[in-house]
């Protein structure tokens, strides 16, 4: 019986702390509601119409992926605690377990659910630039091109 006492005390303390802070803030905070406080915050503008409930599916995919990998990590914790007791058998088991998740991950990446990156566009910059301005009026000033670092080669379309 003795060895379980610390766990029991700990759970009671945790529950107590959780409930106490929840109730205290509910109790002690001054309550002075007004319409503006209930309204959603829209950068200072009073929202005229309700925001639609429907959201694109890509948010949902991201949420699902997060939950999946979160659960995976939770299972790895007990393995990590008893790692040497489980030995190579445990390691293989853990790797198989992770492989299952990895397959799902590869599938999702292959289907392109994760490439949300900035939409990069390279517009044809036909050389209006050089045709525009004839030779420089002031021989002392030259034109220096910048912004070439890290550009992928095929995008260099300008003169």
């Amino acid at each position: 019986m003795g060895q379980y006492l610390p766990i029991v005390v700990l759970t009671i303390l945790v529950i107590l702390f959780g409930v106490l802070s929840f109730v205290a803030s509910g109790l002690l905070a001054p309550r002075r509601p007004n319409t503006a406080k209930e309204a959603p915050y829209e950068c200072g503008i009073v929202p005229s119409k309700e925001p639609p409930e429907r959201f694109p599916v890509s948010f949902y995919v991201i949420a699902m992926l997060f939950i999946m990998f979160d659960i995976e990590i939770i299972f790895i914790y007990p393995y990590a605690v008893d790692q040497e007791f489980l030995g190579t058998y445990g390691l293989i088991e853990m790797l198989a377990f992770s492989a299952v998740f990895f397959v799902a991950f590869v599938y999702v990446v292959a289907r392109g659910a994760l490439d949300w990156g900035p939409l990069q566009r390279y517009k044809p910059l036909h050389d209006i630039a050089s045709a525009q301005v004839p030779s420089t009026p002031n021989p002392r000033t030259t034109i220096r091109r910048v912004g070439h670092e890290g550009r992928r080669s095929e995008e260099v379309t300008a003169a």
């Binding site: 525009q132 301005v133 004839p134 009026p137």
Partner: protein, 167 residues
């Protein structure tokens, strides 16, 4: 294009048929309302392709101002600043707008950049632009009445209370 017509003692230069004066070294052409868009289109083809600024002036308190010969000064005047990058030259176009029907054709199709400037001129002076995609106020709140930059619109000063303050 710009021929020098000898008129009396000084040669009155004209551009696309409209009188040109030089104000402090800057060429200014006075265009009338009817052929306003055509002249600007010709100017745009002739390398004045960037419309730098479009604003208006209310000449209520200055009726007899210096205007090129043959132009009847009206109350409002639209001022368009054009820039030619190839010739490194600026040109100012002044158009008289009468108070009775303060409407002008919009430059939006030729110079899309003037969309906001025309909305500001509408907001501040009340000159409407036909063919403008979004003729609403831009600076003042939507329910504001009156056009602030007109000369008959008072400043809205709150009199300061210290002794001897100007009224």
């Amino acid at each position: 294009m710009s021929e020098s017509v000898d008129q009396g003692h000084e040669t009155a230069e004209t551009l696309h048929g409209f009188p040109v004066t030089t104000a402090l070294g800057q060429k200014v052409v006075f265009v009338d309302r009817a052929s306003y868009v055509q002249v600007l289109k010709k100017l745009a083809d002739d390398s004045f392709d960037m419309c730098v600024d479009l604003t208006a002036v209310d000449y209520l308190l200055m009726p007899n101002r210096a205007v090129a010969a043959g132009i009847a000064p009206e109350r409002f005047e639209l001022v368009v600043n054009l820039l030619s990058m190839t010739r490194r030259e600026r040109l100012r176009v002044r158009v008289q707008v009468s108070e009775s029907d303060a409407t002008m054709p919009s430059l939006f199709d030729l110079h899309p950049g003037t969309e906001a400037m025309e909305r500001e001129v509408f907001d501040m002076f009340g000159i409407t632009f036909e063919g403008h995609p979004d003729m609403t106020r831009i600076l003042m709140p939507e329910d504001w009445d009156g056009h602030p930059l007109r000369k008959d619109y008072e400043v809205g000063r709150i009199p300061v209370q210290f002794k001897g303050a100007p009224a």
